[in-house]
Amino acid sequence: MSGTFVTLVAAEIERPSIDWHAIAPELILLGGGALVTVIDLIWLERVRKLIPTLTSLVFLVALIPVITLWADGSGLPRGLWIIDENVPATGVWEGAFVVDNYSLVLKGLFLLSAYVIVLLSTNYMSEGDYYDSEYYQLIAASVLGMLVMSSSRDLISIFVALELVSIPAYLMAAWRKRDLKSNEAGLKYMLMGVFASAILLYGMSLLYGIAGSTLLSDIAAAIDIGESRPVITLGIVFTIIGFGFKVSAVPFHTWAPDTYEGAPTPLTAFLAVASKAAGFVALINVVIVALPTQANVVEPFIWVLAAITMTVGNLIALRQTNLVRMLAYSGVAQAGYMLAPLAVYDGISDRATSAVVTYLVIYAAMNLGAFAVVIIAARKTRSAELSSYGGMFNYAPGLTLAMTIFLFSLAGIPPVGGWWAKFEVFRVLTEGNRTSGIALAVIAAVNSVIAAFYYLNIAKQMWFLPSPDGDNSRIAIPPALLAAVGLTVAATIVSGVLPGVVSDMTDFVNVAAGQ
């Protein structure tokens, strides 16, 4: 693989036939995003109201090929440049872009999350003094990056996808441009993000230097030397630290609370769910595909990260009085749970991947739901302070019930979704019967109790305490937000009561071998 450039120039270019079906989701999103931009450019203000609807339609249309691929794929990985499924492909990009069940589930997750985010944003954006259509175009761009990320099995495409996810998010974090906090959010996020990218690139360059290829499977083959070497360890550590920033693992989480609080709330939901999931996908791809033989280096590092992340996240969340910040820290803690399966992936990488993806799917539903409620409540209270949720049951019983479902789900109380996510994590941790895994499971169990404390604290405010200003007028819930809450409540309940629905989708086979 070394000297690819020479090959490219010298050899006769082989024009591969493209598997259009496999890249249809990305193409639709790209075309749809461009279309939205064109429409916006032609009619400007006259179509302002239509842009969110159009964007969400684009997401839904892009979901169609994901579903048909799922139905058609029967678990077979498809490469972008495969000429004939029976003949190994020979193109330069061979194996860099893989469509298998794993990536399809994630694509579905990203598209649906993005759909919900648009629902959350519609009223928020149109009611404030914000640039409107650009926001949706940037979301579409970011989601495009996520879709590419799901299929990337190559350092370069992973990096490009990660930047495509992040750069629009930097802009959107500062979207409330007259608010200093939002400016701070955008700036912090960008500086830390760029810093993380630099570290990530450094780690990747070391891995490339060892393997002579950016393709993850080539790297896996190159570093399968039966021992660890300092330079490999360095490369791995830097790469994981780079992703650690993206998934807000402690101690690389410092940007998250400020950014979450200052950014527009729908975007916070986007960062906390979709963007974080993209970071996890990148991490899974690298760890599972490229580093299966380096478990003795990766596992202890991720173990420590996971343990610190869940503990510190929860302990700081205990002290928060602002609900958005609390959710931010709770998201940090949840990232710790999601990291946990990767601390014991040796030999059970498919199961570990399934557990993380299951967690991501359920987490997306419950966390998006919680943010939806926060956004709705803020329409009345103009605040995200915990005390402003007092007495909500009196004037918004349905909303309170929905929030309670999300909170109990986040705390892992059955029968709503969160318990299944936690169970999957515990399952992987204990499956190998290794002390490290069981110890981490115990840490996670203790943490889930700490977490229950602050989740219940929110429930307490809403159910038992009086409203702070005695204002018990009802909240008018716009249809878009109502739909968002309905969707997420349904997803949260279904994933808990019928966990088979989720586990059937996330039962992956041979993620690492996707070519």
Binding site: P415, W419, T430, I438, K460, W463
Partner: protein, 542 residues
């Protein structure tokens, strides 16, 4: 069994309350009486079904009856695996009886719709805990019941209710979070022996695939969860708060049903799954149980709040049950199961009575009450009966359970039992003293005008009084249903613990306390007292 095979009675026990919840949701929030009626009808139907099970239950069968097994998640071997044996049967019936009574006996002060919804949900979950034979399913129900109870205490409790609700929730969750790790571990560690991943309790118990250390660790994680729930001595601190601050119905269910989740858990999932570890570590639970007996009784004596006193008496009673269970012989465990039901009946009734006193006087301070016997003679009579049952007066149900536990205890754990006996005396002390202060003496002005029991209230508590006397006089039908399952458990422990033989009556006659003998003795000795008591309680309704 014939009819049972046709009608899925166990799922119906879970589903009927859920249907009731759906019905309640449809009724407008301001229709107070309709809401109560719907909740009452739903829970009573469930209760009736549970009582019908008593009739349909095959006495000689020591296995699980009415079994239902539906696959829920194939890849995990997770299934809706339900069944009852002699151990769980009466806890199911107890649940079925206590809920309608708790609903009849008291009214919520506000938001009746929510209140009844939570109560019926709680019933569904409680039923599920007792009939689940799949570890994970059990865990789900075990956690689910926390939620309605949290809202019942936090929403309709007294004074410091929110704090009490949170404490209750976190304590229990702390235990059960580790239990989840234990559950997953035991399933995976037994994977090879059971031929695939399964959470089926019977299969796991038969497999006994864990190494000694693993068994102890996993048993420890289970034991911690149950110890919080029982509660055993150092983990009991949530109980006085939760019981005292909970609304009356909440206290009744907490004491009557939810504490049993812990003791039942020890029998079904602790001792049954991990006999070796349970046997090795039994001394811990015997010790904690005995400490609970003495400590609970001592602290109860000091209480100024009547409800708190009853709450601490629970700690003592549950200590007896722990003692009986971990002696690991038939009499002890049988007595423990019996005592679980007794405690549900008598403490449930005590909480109802205390709740009524509070409704009338708006205080539970023992010092502020006094002379109630004058103003409310019928209530005093009912209180006497219930209190005597709680003390363990021969001829009433409490005696049978305590007697069996002590009998078993002397055979297996003599010195612990010697200390435990003092608990019987202490129980008499704190309850009689409390009775004296509350009901005797000259009533002050407010106490003098306290209204007596209404007919509806009398009818509500009547079933409990009948049970107190009936089980005291004629425990045979209950004991003979409990016995096969307990014997099977003991045989299971014997088979799986090296060198362990059921602590038996070496110097005592071969079968000292079969149901028949015991009943016989009691009948003769106490016939007179019974007649008097019964007359009093029944007279109360007139």
């Amino acid at each position: 069994m014939f009819a049972a095979a046709a009608f899925p009675i166990l799922p119906a026990l879970i589903i009927t309350p859920l249907i009731t919840v759906a019905v309640l949701m449809l009724i407008p929030a301001n229709r107070n009486s309709e809401l109560k009626l719907a909740a009452l009808v739903g829970t009573t139907i469930t209760g009736m079904m549970s009582i019908w099970m008593l009739y349909a239950f095959e006495i000689a069968d020591d296995g699980f009856q009415f079994a239902v097994n539906r696959v829920w998640l194939e890849e995990l071997g997770l299934s809706w695996n339900l069944g009852v044996d002699g151990i769980s049967l009466f806890l199911v019936v107890l649940t079925g009886i206590l809920f309608p009574i708790a609903i009849t006996a008291t009214e919520p002060h506000h938001d009746p719709k929510q209140y009844y919804i939570w109560l019926t949900l709680l019933m569904s979950g409680s039923m599920g805990v007792f009939i689940a034979l799949d570890l994970l399913l059990f865990f789900l129900f075990f956690e689910i019941v926390l939620v309605p109870m949290y809202f019942l205490i936090g929403g309709w409790g007294h004074g410091n209710r929110i704090h009490a609700a949170l404490k209750f929730f976190l304590y229990t969750m702390a235990g059960s979070a580790l239990m989840l790790v234990g559950i997953v571990s035991v399933a995976f560690l037994s994977q090879d022996a059971t031929g695939g991943l399964t959470f089926d309790v019977v299969q796991l118990a038969e497999a006994q695939a864990l190494s000694q250390t693993a068994q102890r660790l996993v048993f420890g994680s289970f034991a911690l969860a149950f110890a919080v729930k029982v509660p055993l001595f150092p983990l009991h601190t949530w109980l006085p708060d939760a019981h005292t601050e909970a609304p009356t119905a909440g206290s009744v269910i907490l004491a009557g049903v939810m504490l049993k989740l812990g003791t039942y858990g020890y029998l079904r999932f602790g001792i049954y799954l991990f006999p070796q570890a349970a046997h090795d570590l039994a001394w811990i639970f015997l010790t904690l149980g005995v400490i609970g007996i003495v400590y609970g009784a001592a602290v109860a004596t000091m209480q100024r709040d009547l409800k708190r006193l009853v709450a601490y008496s629970s700690v003592a009673h549950l200590g007896f049950i722990a003692l009986g269970m971990f002696v690991l012989n038939t009499q002890g465990i049988q007595g423990a199961v019996f005592q679980m039901v007794n405690h549900g009946i008598s403490t449930g009734a005590l909480f109802i009575l205390v709740g009524w006193v509070y409704e009338r006087r708006h205080t539970r301070e023992i010092a502020a009450l006094g002379g109630l016997q004058k103003s409310a003679p019928i209530m005093a009579g009912v209180f006497t009966l219930v209190m005597l049952s709680s003390i363990g007066l021969p001829g009433l149900n409490g005696f049978v359970g305590e007697f069996l536990i002590l009998l078993g205890g002397f055979q297996g754990a003599r010195w612990w039992t010697v200390i435990a006996v003092t608990g019987v005396i202490l129980a008499a002390l704190y309850l009689l003293w409390a009775y004296q202060r509350v009901f005797h003496g000259t009533p002050t002005e407010e106490n003098a005008s306290m209204p007596d029991l209404r007919l509806s209230e009398g009818l509500a508590i009547l079933p409990l009084l009948v049970l107190i006397v009936f089980l005291g006089v004629y425990p045979k039908p209950m004991l003979e249903r409990i016995e096969p399952a307990v014997e099977r458990l003991v045989v299971h422990v014997e088979a799986n613990v090296d060198g362990f033989e059921e602590p038996g009556p070496e110097q005592l006659p071969a079968e000292p306390a079969t149901a028949d003998d015991l009943t016989h003795t009691l009948e003769e000795a106490e016939a007179e007292a019974e007649a008097k008591e019964e007359a009093e309680s029944l007279g109360g309704e007139g």
